[in-house]
Amino acid sequence: MISDTHQQLLQCWFQGLEQGCIDDLSQLFIRYPWIRNGGDGPMQGSDAPQRLLRELFERTSSRHFTIIDAAYEDRQLFVRWDGKVTLAAGFRLGSVTLSKPAILNLRGIKRFQLDARGRIEQLEIVHDVVSIETDQTNVERAA
């Protein structure tokens, strides 16, 4: 059970991701946030949210998320989510390049550290790929 304010923040976050709203999402952060996404090194700075989001929106042509559960305590907001994202054609998966879109089913956890006004100071993202919906016809071996 989390407060309406935190529920609203999560809804706003995931809706923004689904709709590709870089500006709306960036406004949820403090001026110099810290972000770490998966195995990538941490990013910090005023442009960190835009870099994270721009890369995600370039790689994916659609995104859908389901919140499983969430908890908030002492400025830490955690959320467990499932996701279904469509990788755009042309995206490289290891040694192959997608000639058609492919769907990734994901599960993950995000941790938001919030300031006193509820803005995001830190965002940490971990996720696993549960499955890939593709077939041999929509990949091309890289040259």
Binding site: R36, Y72, F78, R107, I109, R111, V126, D128
Partner: protein, 119 residues
């Protein structure tokens, strides 16, 4: 489970450091589901045992530092960092998040471990 969830988290990660399979099995329900990055989903007490044994086979020493903890109802989230030493002496640092979902008796019904890659 009689202890509060913050105490539980500290004891759980201490048990992982010590390789205390019995304690970890004891705090899980009979139908617990275990999901860990890079491994197939397992279930039941045997699945928990397999999960911990795999951890012990991969690593010689583990030192967890809890970074953040939050609970709401029957769910507990933790964010952690871990100093890992492998059996060949190689030492690395990793981090990740663990989610515990408890049943109404306080036993772990879902254990999910999603980690950053070793860094």
């Amino acid at each position: 489970m009689m202890m509060n969830k913050h105490e539980f988290a500290a004891k759980y990660f201490r048990a992982q450091e010590m390789g205390d399979i019995d304690w970890i099995q004891q705090v899980c329900s009979d139908d617990v589901i275990v999901r860990e990055s890079g491994r197939s989903e397992t279930s039941g007490k045997a699945g928990v045992r397999d999960y911990v044994i795999a951890l012990l086979q991969r690593t010689a020493k583990r030192k967890f530092m809890l970074h953040a903890v939050a609970e709401a109802g029957n769910v507990l989230f933790t964010s952690w960092e871990c100093d890992v030493e492998f059996h060949n002496g190689l030492a690395m640092y990793t981090s990740g998040m663990t989610r515990f979902l408890f049943d109404n008796d306080g036993a772990i019904r879902e254990l999910e471990v999603i980690g950053h890659e070793l860094i």
